[in-house]
Symmetry: C2
Subunit: 437 residues, 2 copies
């Protein structure tokens, strides 16, 4: 089976995969469980914010017109006729010459149109009455937070597909979302292939390595917002493998296999795709690592055949699987953010194909600096731990020197970008800007 494969460009491969997106259902979870999920519907204000004219300070609610003549030399005196704690409401109407003690957040009583801060008054207690003295005038509306000045009833405060961070949780609470509509997580199966693979708890044996890809992809799925299901390792026997894939497909929304997609004699997946009558969108991509990445589709269900080598597997997931997961989650920014950074170290290798180098992004004097981590051999795992970007060096370029501009794909960012933005950016990596400290 040493058949020839025709590589396609990375962007073309991504576009082909994203022609087969699907969007998941929504479900309701409690507000406490909503953090880290994605909004399944627009978040809408069910009332004005503030819901009523309220005081932003502890102080006294007054009628501004009563203060017109107040000055340092001619202070005026108002009678304090009541007090309002936050959450309570003043019963009557405040009349000429009167004021009401008011707490932060409390509703402005009827008749009043300004608030005087506590520290600006002198309080005077008499036997049964109490008064305040003011030494300056106030305008109508001074120190009042007006109903609706922050948010109007009916306003969309966050769109469907937004990642729910603590600020969004605050909005959900404010607008009465005891139960929150969130996007259902796609169930994503993982099958590891490779007769060289040991289980994590097995002792090392000559010629074998422990299976790390399955667990790495497991957590990449969680990070992307999906629900991983690990089906274990492939059998060594073709018919059993075929049945494993068929059964797994029935239980999941998408299926990921790691390994088994090379042209090596022991790689079953191409034959399995054929027997499943799967539509193989591509089985070779002009990129390093991950050239043997395969994506296939059967009746709209996607199979991601990721490479068996850890870096290639990692990159293949982030480029092809992640945007599919985010689209399923209703995200309007399903792609990872791609930004420009300054290369922090030389990368002398030429790039006959688009290259994705694991890198660490840091900031220096307000600029983004991306530095390749580790040796960047495709079978190296030790550098993956500190990687938070993929440095994207376009195919056809020579080696890069420290200080040049490069494109970086942000791995930990939750905001993302549109697919169009992702695919169109990256050209600026050929510009050779020097890095001046």
């Amino acid at each position: 089976m040493l058949n020839q494969r025709k590589p396609i460009k990375v962007n073309e491969a991504i576009e082909r995969v994203l022609n087969h997106t699907s969007i998941g259902n929504i479900e309701y979870v409690s507000l406490e469980e909503s953090y880290g999920r994605f909004l399944g519907d627009d978040l809408i204000a069910d009332h004005h914010v503030p819901p009523f004219d309220r005081s932003p300070y502890d102080g006294f609610a007054v009628r501004a017109m009563d203060t017109n003549d107040a000055s340092r030399n001619t202070p005026i005196t108002l009678e304090v006729v009541g007090e309002i704690g936050a959450g309570s409401v003043f019963g009557g109407v405040v009349d000429k010459g009167q004021a009401v003690r008011i707490m932060t957040g409390a509703q402005i009583p009827e008749g009043c149109d300004a608030v005087v801060m506590l520290e600006l008054v002198k309080e005077i207690k008499e036997e049964t009455k109490s008064f305040i003295q003011l030494k300056r005038s106030f305008e109508s509306g001074d120190n009042i937070s007006f109903s609706g000045e922050d948010t109007k009833k009916g306003e969309v405060l966050a769109s469907e597909g937004t990642y729910i961070n603590p600020g969004i949780v605050a909005l959900l609470a404010t607008f009465g979302y005891k139960q929150v509509p969130v996007s259902c997580k796609p169930k994503i199966g993982i099958i590891a292939t490779g007769s060289e693979l040991l289980d994590v708890d097995e002792e090392l044996q000559p010629g074998k390595i422990r299976n790390s890809n399955a667990f790495m992809v497991y957590s990449q799925i969680i990070r992307a917002g999906g629900e991983p299901i690990y089906f274990g390792q492939f059998s060594d026997e073709f018919d059993t493998c075929f049945e494993q894939v068929k059964k797994a497909l029935e239980q999941v929304d998408f299926l990921i296999t790691t390994g088994g997609v090379s042209v090596g004699d022991y790689d079953y997946l191409p034959a399995i795709y054929e027997k499943l009558s799967a539509n193989v969108m591509f089985n070779k991509v002009g990129m390093r690592p991950g050239s043997v990445t395969t994506v296939a589709e059967i009746d709209g269900q996607l199979l991601f055949g990721l490479s068996g080598n850890p870096s290639a597997c990692y990159v293949g997931f982030e480029l092809f699987t992640r945007p599919i997961i985010r689209t399923y989650l209703h995200a309007y920014h399903p792609a990872l953010k791609k930004e420009t950074a300054i290369l922090g170290a030389n990368f002398p290798k030429p790039n006959p194909f688009d290259r994705f180098v694991r890198g660490h992004l840091s900031f220096e004097n307000g600029k983004l600096i991306a530095t390749p981590v580790g040796l960047d051999k495709s079978n190296v795992v030790s550098s993956l731990g500190s990687a938070n970007v993929l440095i994207n060096l376009p195919g056809g370029t020579r080696g890069y020197e420290q200080g040049m501009d490069v494109s970086v794909i942000l791995l930990e960012d939750q905001e993302g970008t549109t697919l169009e933005q992702f695919l169109s950016s990256g050209g600026h990596t050929k510009r050779r800007a020097r890095y001046d400290k």
Copy 2:
């Protein structure tokens, strides 16, 4: 209780709190559950990587000396005496004039010291034997991944306290961590106070608002790595409140209250601290929002009295509670990262105190741009959803113009920084660098 409070500087307040850190125990979780936790111990390589000399390609393992005389015009022929799939081992010793078919990742057989890639040979099959023809020579070591060249046995690959991302998960799997030592999550209680607060599922009532702080802080705790426990809202009655706090303290590592720390007549917390004989480290901080933030300590247990207004509550948590949580999790970078960014819009208000403005960080041509979000009134919640940084404007500065350098505190970053780094940075915000596109 309109007592005077003496404000202290933000950095001084943070230092006081961080004099009372505690470090949690460790527990073991399965590899699948380890993503997003913090390493409770150093991650150590239990073997070399690669564990044996192996082939990075599909090809043929050869003895380099046999190829010395090979050239385009004088190809040499080697007999293929076996094949090694990944995970299997060649039994014998490869002799003069022999080669072995080898798969990616398989162990180099004894006697061989180079690998020839598949595409560089011509295969010749005879009845019972097969041969390869080579048209160039190879050096000893060519195309071999040597044992230990990536990682040496015993090497620390990630330190105790590291956030477990998918790359770290891959390392854990590779080195046999079926069970992963992780830092125990601190249990953090939340009590909401404020008689103006409605439950999230209650209809709005005049003068009242729904309780959003408790749920916001709940998710901030999760983001920081802790385990939130919500005890509900305070009673309106002092003795009951006191008992609520006392009981909650027995069940948690740290306790957060929201609201009730102002000098308003209805704010019970100062009296509760007194009755508990708590050591109040400070009850006023020279910052906006959040000036009434209080932190107290009883027998080493911390009580965070966060403000009742949403922005102040949010900021108080991130500045004071988060580093305590991260320290408990063994993190060596417990503070949030503070970086320099270019201000993306005017902020004309003067800053009599250190100000923390919710902002949105974006990137433009390799530079960090931070733009204030929303109105930034302290009682505004609608802008919190899009905030991913706090823009830190030092006290004593005038208004800031678009294009100036400012300090930003990154809210979604998992890497963090040291406390020293956090406290020492930020001075550059007074430098007035223009933003040149």
